[in-house]
Symmetry: C2
Subunit: 120 residues, 2 copies
């Protein structure tokens, strides 16, 4: 039984990724590239990107799997992709009763957006 957290955002989570100086400013090191590429890779599949956008744009910031499963692939495949997104640190999941809810990991969107920021 894990901690039941009700705080919506901004608790000091361990898997936060502070990794990101804007790309236009400084080249990434080899190690930074590995960690950051894993996130881009997670969004680099059409089905996953669609699932992620469905969660990111969902009411209340979260979505039940049953609400986003209609993306043209089988149910196990949806589960597989959601797992990948979780492992990449992009989504978090929580079971409440019958359903499992996914939400976007806080600070991850901001970090990636910052990385691609147009400093020009």
């Amino acid at each position: 039984m894990s901690k039941v957290e009700l705080l919506p955002v901004l608790e000091p989570d361990a898997d936060a990724v502070p990794c990101c100086p804007p790309l236009s400013e400084r080249a990434l090191t080899a190690e930074e590239s590995v960690r950051t590429a894993a996130m881009f890779k997670a969004l680099g599949d059409p089905v996953r990107l669609r699932l992620f956008s469905l969660v990111a744009s969902a009411e209340g910031g979260e979505a039940c799997v049953c609400d986003i499963s209609d993306v043209g692939v089988s149910q196990p495949t949806v589960s597989h992709h959601l797992k990948k997104l979780r492992e990449a640190g992009l989504l978090t999941s929580e079971r409440r009763g019958t359903w499992v809810y996914y939400r976007v990991a806080p600070s991850v969107l901001a970090a990636m957006g910052n990385l691609l920021a147009t400093s020009s």
Copy 2:
């Protein structure tokens, strides 16, 4: 014909990718997901992301292949990855004499950044 020239950015180029409503705002369609995922996928490899960052952070906005080839893989592999980035619309290349110079495709960084924009 009002000739717009010399503007550093924002000229209406053909390969611009207008694809992008912020993710937090609206879910992507299947077709949008395919096109956009291709870009994330291109950045989803450590070597490619590093090469891209080297070009993006280079002096004058461009870099010779010879200047960014030291990323731990063979030179044909570097060329292969640069081609992938070119095909994804993220980089453009130009040969000047002996060397080939790469630069970041304008408006692509902005489009991807916009997609990940934190509307919160």
